[in-house]
C-alpha cells in the first residue's frame, strides 16, 4: 500500500529531527559562552559542524535519488529523512549563528539555506496539494487528448463558420491563430497573459455576433438594440442576447448554425482554461525545484567560502 514519505515508518525521521532540534535548543539554553552567542563559541562550532554535515548529506540526496537500486535504504526513506532533517537544519543553523545577522558572506550562506529550505517546504506542499487538483481538473483526459479535442473543436468551428459566412470564418480563424497555451515560465504559472487572450477572444466573439447582423439581412436589424463590443462587460450574456434576437428573424438555418458555433467556442474556452490550469499545476509542482536545486548548489559554494573565510581570519 502507498505510504506518504511524510509518515514513513511511523514518522521515524520526524522523531530524529525533533530530537536533534530539542538537543540543540537545550544546549543553546544551558551553555553560557564567555562572549555574546555567536558561531565561534564551542557550541557555535559544534552546531556549525552538525549543520555543515547536514547540508552535505542533504545535497547527497540529489545524487542518491538518481541511483534507485544502490544501497540498502529506499529512496522513499531518503526523501523522508531529507525533508525532516532539512527542516531541523533551519534551527541548527540559526542557533549556530547566535542570531547575529549582518550584511556579509555568512548571511549570504544563511539566506541561501533559508530559501532552499523554504522552497523545499513549498515542494512538500505542492506534492500534497496539486496531484489531486490535477486529477480533478483533467476529468480523466490526458493532456494530449485535451489538445486533440481543442483541435477537433477548432476544426468544427472553422467548418461551421465557413458555412455562416466569410467574416465569421475570418474571426474564427483569428481566434484559432491567437489561442495560446502555456508559453514562458511566468505565463505557465501565472495565467496573466492568458487572461488577456481570453478577453480578446470574448471581444472577437461579440464582434462576430455584431457583424452577423447585416449578414442576416433582417429589415429591423439596424433599429435593434444592439450593444457594442465595449458597452457590456458581460460579453457572454451579450452573445446570447444577440443570439436570441437573431432567432426572431428569418434565416433560421444560419441562426441555428451561429448558435452551434457559439456553443463550440464556449466549449473550447472551457477546455482551454482547463488545459491552462493543468499546465499551471504541473508548473507549480516543478518550479520549486528550479529554485531548490540551483540555490542548494549556490549554498554549497557559500558554505565552502564561509568555512574557509572564518578560519582564514581565525
Amino acid at each position: 500500500m502507498h505510504q506518504s514519505f511524510l509518515v514513513y515508518k511511523g514518522f521515524r525521521y520526524l522523531k530524529v529531527a525533533l530530537i536533534l532540534s530539542a538537543l540543540s535548543i537545550f544546549a543553546y539554553a544551558v551553555y553560557i559562552p564567555t562572549e555574546p552567542p555567536n558561531g565561534g563559541t564551542w557550541l557555535g562550532y559544534t552546531l556549525g559542524t552538525i549543520g555543515a554535515l547536514l547540508i552535505l548529506w542533504l545535497l547527497w540526496f540529489g545524487v542518491r535519488k538518481r541511483k534507485f537500486s544502490r544501497g540498502s535504504a529506499t529512496t522513499q526513506s531518503w526523501l523522508s529523512a531529507h525533508v525532516y532533517l532539512g527542516m531541523a537544519l533551519l534551527l541548527v543553523a540559526t542557533l549556530h549563528s547566535g542570531f547575529q545577522f549582518a550584511w556579509n558572506l555568512h548571511m549570504l550562506a544563511y539566506s541561501l539555506m533559508v530559501i532552499v529550505i523554504a522552497s523545499g517546504i513549498f515542494g512538500i506542499v505542492a506534492y500534497a496539494r496539486y496531484p489531486s487538483l490535477i486529477t480533478a481538473n483533467r476529468e480523466s483526459q490526458t493532456r494530449e487528448q485535451m489538445f486533440e479535442e481543442i483541435a477537433n473543436l477548432d476544426q468544427a468551428a472553422v467548418t461551421l463558420a465557413a458555412q455562416i459566412g466569410d467574416q465569421a470564418h475570418q474571426i474564427i480563424l483569428r481566434s484559432i491563430n491567437r489561442t495560446k497555451i502555456g508559453g514562458s515560465v511566468w505565463a505557465q504559472i501565472s495565467g496573466k497573459e492568458q487572461e488577456k487572450e481570453d478577453e480578446m477572444e470574448e471581444e472577437q466573439l461579440v464582434e462576430l455576433a455584431t457583424q452577423m447582423m447585416p449578414a442576416i439581412g433582417s429589415p429591423n436589424a439596424p433599429t435593434m438594440a444592439m450593444p457594442s463590443a465595449n458597452a457590456d462587460p458581460d460579453s457572454e450574456s451579450t452573445l446570447f442576447f444577440v443570439a436570441q434576437n437573431l432567432a426572431g428573424s428569418h434565416g433560421q438555418e444560419r441562426v441555428q448554425k451561429l448558435r452551434d458555433l457559439l456553443d463550440i467556442v464556449r466549449s473550447k474556452k472551457m477546455l482551454v482554461d482547463r488545459l491552462r490550469r493543468d499546465i499551471r499545476y504541473h508548473g507549480l509542482m516543478q518550479l520549486w525545484l528550479y529554485v531548490h536545486v540551483p540555490l542548494s548548489l549556490a549554498l554549497l559554494a557559500a558554505l565552502t567560502a564561509h568555512i574557509i573565510a572564518v578560519f582564514f581570519y581565525w
Binding site: T34, N104, F312
Partner: protein, 566 residues
Amino acid sequence: MRTLVRYIKSKNSNTGAIVYHDERFDIDRITVGRATQSDIGLNDLSVSLNHAAISMGKGKKPVIKAISVSGFQVNGRLLKTADLQPGDVIEVGRWTLKVEKPADGFELILVVEKQGKGGSPSADLREKSKTTIEETGLGKRSWSWILFVAVMVLFLIVPAVGVMVPSVGKLLRASPVPSDGSWDSGTLALAHHIIGDQCEQCHEKPFRMVRDHACIECHKSTMAHADPDFYSLDTLTRTRCATCHKDHNGIDGMVRRDPGLCSNCHEDPDTTMPNAELLPAEDFTDLHPQFRITLTSYDDEKQEEVRERVSMDDKDLMVEKSNLIFPHDKHLKPEGIDSPSGTRQLSCVSCHKPEPGGARMEPINMVKHCKECHSLTFEIDDAVREVPHGKTREVLFVLEEYYAKRALEGGYIDNSAPEVVRKRRRPGERLSKDERREALEWASQKYLEVGEEIFRFRVCNVCHKVNKTEREDGLPSWEVVPVRLNQHWMRKAVFSHRSHETMTCEDCHDANKSDTSADVLIPAIDNCRQCHAGEDAHNQVESPCIECHKFHIQDEFRMGAIKADE
C-alpha cells in the same frame, strides 16, 4: 510584377524527388485565398475566401497585406502586413508560401506547399505550445553551475586574491565588488572601528589565530591581573588576549561578563591559589565576602600613611581616624540650623558635590562650606577681622600684630588692661616711650591669651584636635592635628556615584544618625544587595563580577611582558 508561383504537389522523402507545377503572372496585385477566383488558391478551410494580397511596395519589394482579420504568420510571427524578403516563410492556415530569391526576370518567386500535419487547422497548437518548464529552456543544471561558480568566485576567490595581492585588495575595498570585508563576521568593538577594514592589522597570517602582539602593539599599558611569579597559573601566563576578548561581536561585545571569568579561580582560592590568602567569591548573591574597606591612619613616627583593609563585619574596627570633629546629625537637623542669615536647612549636597566625572565627590573646603557659620573672628568688638584658616603660625602673627596696634591706638575697652591702652587718644597725640612699652607689654600678653582662647576653647577646637606646644623662645604655641579624611574606601572595586544618581544619599549613607565623624558611613554589602544580585538575578540588577571589579589591576606588570609562548 512578374511572379512565379510553384505549387509542390508531392515530395519523395527517400529520393528527394519533387513533383510540382508552376504558374506565372504579370499583374500588380496577386490575391491569396480559398475562393476559386484567387490568383493563388489555397484550398483548405484554414484559409479565408479572400485571405491576403501581394503587391509591389514602394521600396521595390513585394508586400503582403491581410484581407482576412485572421491575418497570417511570417517567420512564426502573427502579422497583418509584411515586407517580403527572400527566405521568408508565410504561413496561411496549413499552407506555407516560401519567398525565393528573384531570378530569371521574375520579381517574386513563391514556393507554395501544403503542410501535411494533423487533421485540423490548429493541429500544430500542441507543437508550438510550451507546456512544461523544461520546454522554456530554464535548466536546473546550468543554473546550478552558474550560481556555484559565481558564489565561489565572488565571495571566496576574489577576496582571497585581494588578501594575497594588497594592491588588488585596496582596489576591491574601494569598489562594490566583495573584498575580504565580506568575510567580516560582525561589528567590531567601538574602539576598534579605527582599524576599520584593515583585517591584516590583527589577522596577520591566514589560518592562524590572532596573536597577542597584534593586541599589545596598541595596548601597551594594559596591566596584568596578578603577579605572575606569585600566581604561577597557566591561565594567567599562557592565555591569549583573544581568549577573553573576541571581537566582531558588536560595539560592546569584547568584555567578558560571564561569571566564569572570575569564579574559575576565585570560587575556591584555597585550592587554586593556596598562598594568596584570598576570600572565596563566585557570585554577588551566593558567594561574596563582606566588603573590606581600606582605612587609613597616620604613623607619626615613620611619618607615613598606614592602610589597613578591614571587613565591615568587624564593627569595632569601623572607625575613621580623620582627626576632624564633625557630627553629621547636628548639621542635618530637619528643623535646620541657625546661621548668620537665619535658619538654614542643610542637606548632603550643601557640602558634597560630585566631581565632574561623577565617580567621586569634590573635596570639602572650609572657606566654601563651613565659614559662613563657623567664622574665624577673635575679638568681641571687631566682627570684621578674622584669623586665616589652615596656618597656625600665621594665626599668632596676626593676633600679635592686631593687639599691638590696638594697644598703641588706645581706646580698648577692657578693665584688666592698663590705663594707656584703655585711654582714648586725641588726634595727633603722641605716646611717651614708657607708655609705648607698657602698651606693648600688655599686647604681648593679650595675644597669647586670645590665641589660647581661640585655639583651645572657642574657634579651632570646634572642629579640630589642638595640641599646646612650646616655641623655641619658650612662648606657648598651638598645633592643629592635620585632618586626614579617608579618600579611597574600596580600592579593589569600582563605584560611580553617577550611575546611582537616581538614588537619594540617605538610601546608602546613614548620615542623619551619625553624631561623630569617627562613624564609617560607607554602606556594607547588604545595602548593595537590595538592588544588585548575581547571575540569577530576579527583579534585581544582574551584576557579574566585572560590574564592580576590574581584571587588569596589577599595576607593576604589563600584559604580554611575561608570555611563555612568544
